[in-house]
């Protein structure tokens, strides 16, 4: 039950999550996956196998930009939000809020 819930939500909103996470500071892939796990209190997890293709796709659309940075002998790729990505993120946030509000109203959560 939890797994199905996890997959459905992730599918539609993974892009929003990633864009939000790199909004304030550049982060590398492992950090992004860890942040998702921490902030969702373990409810959302991303394996490398789905995370990286997603990152590459966002990058190919020009929403985020990755750069190799060397730090204490290890090279990591840090992703940051592009101006283009910023616009998309703003739009997605509004979209999500409207969607969530609509769900709340329909499902009667607000009145409960």
């Amino acid at each position: 039950m939890a797994a199905a819930y996890d997959r459905e939500l992730k599918k539609g909103n993974a892009e929003l999550l990633i864009l939000s996470l790199v909004e304030d500071q550049p982060r590398h892939g492992y950090e992004i996956s860890k942040q998702i796990k921490i902030r969702s209190q373990g409810r959302l997890t991303f394996h490398a196998a789905s995370l990286y293709p997603l990152l590459y796709r966002l990058e190919s659309r020009g929403w985020i930009h990755g750069r190799w940075v060397e730090n204490s002998g290890r090279r990591r790729r840090y992703y940051r939000l592009t101006p283009e990505g910023r616009k998309v993120l703003a739009a997605r946030r509004i979209g999500w809020q409207e969607f969530a509000a609509a769900i709340r109203r329909v499902a009667g959560i607000e009145h409960a």
């Binding site: 892939g29 394996h47 490398a48 196998a49 990286y52 796709r57 190919s60 090279r75 790729r77 739009a91």
Partner: protein, 890 residues
């Protein structure tokens, strides 16, 4: 230093093994995954998890290899454009297009054989069409290089009663028409000829000259480049001798010096003052060096000798103009019962048609040939794309299965087809230009100067679009179908199945291709055979080892007939004395060099019926030794002697027409150009010479002795014992030795003259042959490709048959039968087409019937043989299949 506690790479590589190799990008992915796994592992270890467990859990990050590969493939080969989102400008269209193009090039490079074939076929189709069409366009479609050239018309007179289509315009007619017409803005007349030009301090040079009325520049809407046009006074009889130089002559002889105005040139011994230089665009009349005023006398009834050109008033049709001139022409007859204007009448036609009518049949046929090759190329490309699309159904199904949308697949295949088409077009344009340049060298030297040839870009685009469209349409069909199929069904189908509908489509393409190339081969066979027949025609003389050149004597310097006769007599003696010359003689016109006609009556010979036409007779003046030197055959009688001024030699056609049942020797004839009562006696009859071309009818002809009317221009003919070209400079020195102000014109061997007269037939016959062979090669490639493909798709079926005991010979026969069935059907349809269309060739054929059985049989055998060969290779491959291997491969 290695800072990792584990080497993660082998594990990562193993899981990515099924991704297509992609160099740098893959390395980048591997490194990033490696970092991730290392981070994960270290964290787990730090939280107290045992190393081995930490390692396993880190590797779980990669999930299964299918999942990872699928995710990455989705990313690398995106199935769809990113979803439209508020604020998304969608500005990366160029990126995705570029990605498609790169992928397309990769896909094309992975099947180089297919790519080469498709590109080659496109290129051949486009190149041939573009080049031939450019010639056609230059000859018939491009506007002439004059303002409003559609209003320019050729003006001439016709005389059906004399059996002459064009006779030229006479002085009185030209004056009457010019004054009385209401339909022309302007009208001009001219006569072309030539002279020997001498500029003080330079060599004598043979130049071509036109005597023109002063309106010609206005008719063409041109202004002099330098100086002025002729004045009205200069264009009156006995007016001052003035001239305008062509732009070319001005550049060549005077280096474009503006001080040329006022200079004096000697042409045929007479002094002309240069008053102007013609603009570069003054290319009509064609290839003329000098213009001088015609100075025509309206009272001179003389002969019909003028060419006319007029500019119609805007909105006036040729028919209206012709009616206008006919009205004036008939008005001149009133009161005069025997006026020649009863016989002649004005005839108008577009300028271009008058000069290019001869080329039209040949170019139309060539254009049709090109169209067929283009069609075959399209059909072949269609077949090729159909085969390829089918072969890729499985790949497409996989891509659809892993999430590629149909639009993405279609776009990808579209890009691939377009990249192929673009490469084919580029090569085609290049080859087309090369071919056009080659064909232009085939055009004769006397092609009108006012024609311009160049690649027609609109047509090129048309050809490119047509072939590309066939590539795209037939490439997309199977792809769209595959993408629409349930991926699982398509995958499970494996390689063995092959839909009946598609096999029928391919079969129809093969049948069409074979039919079209058979049609083309039959036509080409007929044309080439006709050319060979023409080459076999006996010209009526021995053309080998004959050198000819023309000499004009300036009329001022050689005004008396005795002077002219003396000059040529001396020249002939000196030429005769040159080492290597066996005999030398002279004639007014050599074979293939032109016409000069008049009318004769036979005294006591044939009496013409009321509706019978008196034929135009070719009359020539010759030295008595001419018949021997040229190698003509006497059927009876002998040549005239030098002193026999009123004895003539006639040809076989003349004798047959005028003296059908009697021996012409000793009979008298009368020329319309002679005084009443004067007659000529026939002393010899020769076999016909093909004077107008090997493929042309010979007219009756009369050879008159030179002494009868010594002319100022003759062609010298030398039979040589050595290679004739080697004598040109010795002959020129001999001429200069006699008179340094004389020029040698058109030094050519008789064989060269004969070849030039056949250029058009040679050019279109061999071009057509080349098209037919290209068509056959394309068709063979098509048959081979499709049969190979059918065999490869039915490997499983063949394997089962062999496993069940079929012998290799039976398999061979089975494949051949199915392939040859299509070829036979194509041959049958092609034959029907050839039978129906061969009559269009009739006007171009010579000595061969449009349904010549020999050609048909040879072509049918050839096509079947090529078809057999193209089928045999894949059939043998099928027969040699190892059943165990094929079945296991499934």
């Amino acid at each position: 230093m290695p800072s990792y506690e584990h080497d993660w790479k082998p594990a990562i590589r193993e899981r990515l093994a099924r991704l297509p190799a992609d160099g740098a990008w893959q390395e980048h992915v591997i490194e990033e995954f490696e970092q991730h796994l290392e981070d994960c592992y270290r964290e787990l270890c730090a939280s107290g998890v045992p190393e081995e467990v930490a390692r396993r859990r880190a590797l779980e990050e990669l999930e299964t290899s299918e999942r990872l590969t699928e995710e990455l493939r989705k990313m690398r080969y995106p199935a769809a454009r990113p979803p439209a989102v508020l604020g998304d400008s969608g500005g990366n269209l160029m990126d995705s297009l570029w990605r498609d193009v790169r992928y397309a090039i990769r896909a094309i490079r992975s099947t180089p054989g297919f790519a080469l074939m498709a590109i080659g076929m496109l290129a051949v189709g486009i190149a041939g069409n573009a080049a031939i069409f450019s010639i056609f366009d230059g000859l018939f479609l491009r506007p002439l290089p004059f303002a409003h050239s559609e209003r320019l018309v050729d003006i001439d007179e016709t005389a059906p009663k004399w059996n002459l289509k064009f006779v030229g315009v006479s002085n009185p007619d030209f004056f009457a028409w010019r004054e009385g017409n209401q339909t022309f803005e302007k009208m001009a007349f001219f006569d072309t000829g030539g002279g020997t030009m001498v500029i003080s301090g330079g060599d004598a040079e043979r130049v071509s000259a036109a005597l023109v009325t002063r309106d010609l520049l206005d008719v063409l809407s041109l202004k002099p480049a330098l100086g002025r046009n002729f004045t009205a006074d200069e264009d009156k009889p006995k007016g001052p001798k003035v001239t305008m130089l062509s732009h070319k002559l001005w550049q060549r002889r005077f280096a474009g010096d503006p001080k040329v105005l006022g200079r004096i040139l000697k042409v045929d011994g007479e002094a002309y003052t240069v008053v102007g230089v013609l603009p570069q665009d003054a290319v009509f009349p064609s290839n003329v060096d000098l213009w001088s005023p015609l100075q025509a006398d309206p009272k001179n009834q003389g002969s019909w000798y003028l060419n006319g050109v007029g500019r119609l008033k805007p909105g006036v049709t040729i028919q209206q103009a012709q009616a206008d001139l006919t009205r004036i022409h008939k008005g001149m007859i009133e009161g005069e019962k025997n006026s020649v204007n009863n016989i002649t009448s004005p005839v108008l036609m577009p300028l271009r048609d008058r000069y290019l009518g001869d080329y039209r049949d040949a170019t139309n046929i060539l254009l049709a040939g090109v169209g067929v090759v283009l069609l075959i190329a399209c059909v072949n490309i269609a077949g090729l794309m159909l085969v390829r699309g089918t072969a890729r159904a499985r790949e497409i199904a996989i891509r659809a299965a892993i999430g590629a949308s149909r639009s993405a697949i279609v776009r990808q295949l579209l890009t691939e087809s377009l990249v192929l088409a673009a490469l084919g077009c580029l090569l085609g344009v290049f080859l087309g230009n090369v071919a056009l340049r080659g064909m232009l060298t085939l055009l004769p030297d006397d092609t009108p100067q006012w024609l311009t040839f160049g690649m027609d870009w609109r047509f090129l685009v048309f050809c490119a679009a047509l072939t590309a469209a066939s590539a795209v349409i037939f490439g997309l069909g199977p792809a769209v179908q595959a993408a629409r199929l349930q991926p699982r069904a398509s995958l499970q189908e494996g390689q063995s199945s092959f839909s009946r509908a598609r096999r029928n489509a391919l079969g129809a393409l093969i049948v069409g291709e074979v039919g079209l190339s058979l049609l083309l081969l039959v036509s080409a066979g007929l044309l080439v055979q006709a050319f060979r027949q023409v080459m076999k025609v006996d010209p009526g003389f021995r053309p080998q080892n004959l050198l000819t050149f023309r000499v004009w004597l300036p009329s001022a310097e050689y005004s008396k007939p005795e002077q002219r006769q003396q000059f040529f007599q001396t020249l002939l003696e000196r030429l005769q004395a040159l080492p290597g010359v066996q005999s030398a003689s002279a004639v007014s016109i050599v074979p293939f060099d032109g016409h000069s006609g008049t009318f004769y009556e036979a005294v006591g010979g044939r009496v013409l019926g009321p509706n019978e036409k008196n034929p135009v007779v070719l009359y020539l003046y010759a030295w008595p030794t001419y018949f021997d030197t040229m190698g003509l055959t006497f059927l009876s009688g002998r040549s005239f002697q030098e002193e026999e001024k009123n004895r003539v030699v006639v040809n076989e056609s003349f004798a047959k027409f005028f003296f059908p049942n009697v021996d012409p020797l000793g009979r008298s004839i009368q020329c319309s150009c002679m005084k009443k009562g004067d007659t000529l006696e026939i002393v010899g009859v020769t076999r016909d010479v093909k004077h107008y071309g090997l493929d042309q009818e010979m007219r009756p002809s009369v050879f008159n002795p030179y002494a009868q009317r010594p002319r100022d221009s003759m062609v010298l003919v030398m039979r040589t014992g050595v290679e004739p070209h080697s004598l040109i400079s010795a002959a020129r020195d001999t001429l200069r030795g006699l008179n340094p102000e004389l020029a040698m014109a058109q030094p050519r061997t008789m064989v060269e003259r004969m070849d030039r007269s056949l250029w058009a037939r040679r050019a279109y016959s061999w071009l057509f042959g080349a098209f037919a062979i290209v068509a056959m090669v394309l068709a063979a490639a098509g048959i081979y490709g499709v049969t190979s493909y059918v065999v490869s798709r039915r490997t499983r079926e063949i394997g089962i048959r062999i496993a069940l005991g079929a012998l290799p010979g039976q398999i061979l026969g089975w494949v051949l039968r199915s392939g040859m069935g299509l070829v036979t059907l194509g041959v049958t349809l092609g034959l029907a087409g050839a039978f129906a269309t061969s009559r269009f060739l009739e006007t171009l054929l010579f000595g061969v019937k449009p349904r010549d059985p020999g050609i048909y049989v040879a072509v049918i055998c050839g096509v079947i043989f090529v078809g057999l060969l193209a089928n045999l290779i894949p059939a043998r491959r099928a027969a040699a299949l190892d059943p165990m291997r094929t079945l296991r491969a499934e």
